[in-house]
Symmetry: C2
Subunit: 104 residues, 2 copies
DNA sequence: TATATAAGCAACCGATCGGTTTCGCAAATT
DNA sequence: AATTTGCGAAACCGATCGGTTGCTTATATA
């Protein structure tokens, strides 16, 4: 059951769930209302999100509120960093090229 | 065959391929040498990456060089933007809290 | 105490995934 | 012209995915 964050965000429904609970913690039933599937399907998605620690449970009576563990999202940002360096370098090179053209 | 970038980066081998060809364009054979699988398996990954336009082909004789379409990576960055706003706000709030504590 | 509600869990299903093997084709090399 | 090399395409395979249905447990409410 090797879960990682990249696999977690691969599914569009899970990305939508993430965006939903980013605003405020919600129960599975409340989340399910936003989608065209059963609560059980949502529960499965929440289990995957919980397993890779993207989401946290907060028990409150018989309700379970799921909230986004926003810090975990930074892992994606961290991975992107190596490419951000490249595209910024490219941009800079383009910029330099343009200024050279301008001078001649 | 609905391919999107999030599904493309879900696989660890594909992420490694992306990182590899980010440095310089490479042929399928050259890429395959870096992994413990067959060239055909790599070819399949390249097909998926090509389908979602993360990668471009450059034919040169009978060799095909695959190069990263770095701009496409920005789509992930764009999606992350909404969450970056949240975690920066949280950080700011924490910062304010700390300065309030300091004052008292 | 009986009933309704919130939620997790397990079994099942068709579709897709990642991989291998085999094949065919086109470009280089001999 | 014959052979080697680089590559994609297709067929196949077991594993996993996303979903449903049916069940159990625990907390509220009548």
């Amino acid at each position: 059951m090797r879960r990682d964050i990249f696999q977690a965000i691969a599914d569009p429904t899970r990305r939508a769930i993430i965006a939903l609970i980013a605003i405020q913690a919600m129960t599975p039933n409340a989340i399910a209302e936003h989608f065209d599937t059963t609560r059980q399907a949502i529960s499965k998605h929440l289990r995957i999100l919980t397993e890779c620690e993207l989401v946290e449970q907060k028990h409150q009576g018989r309700e379970i509120y799921y909230q986004l563990e926003i810090d975990k999202m930074k892992e994606i940002d961290k991975w992107l960093e190596q490419f951000r360096q490249i595209w910024e370098t490219r941009f800079q090179q383009l910029d330099e090229l343009l200024s050279i053209i301008k001078k001649t």
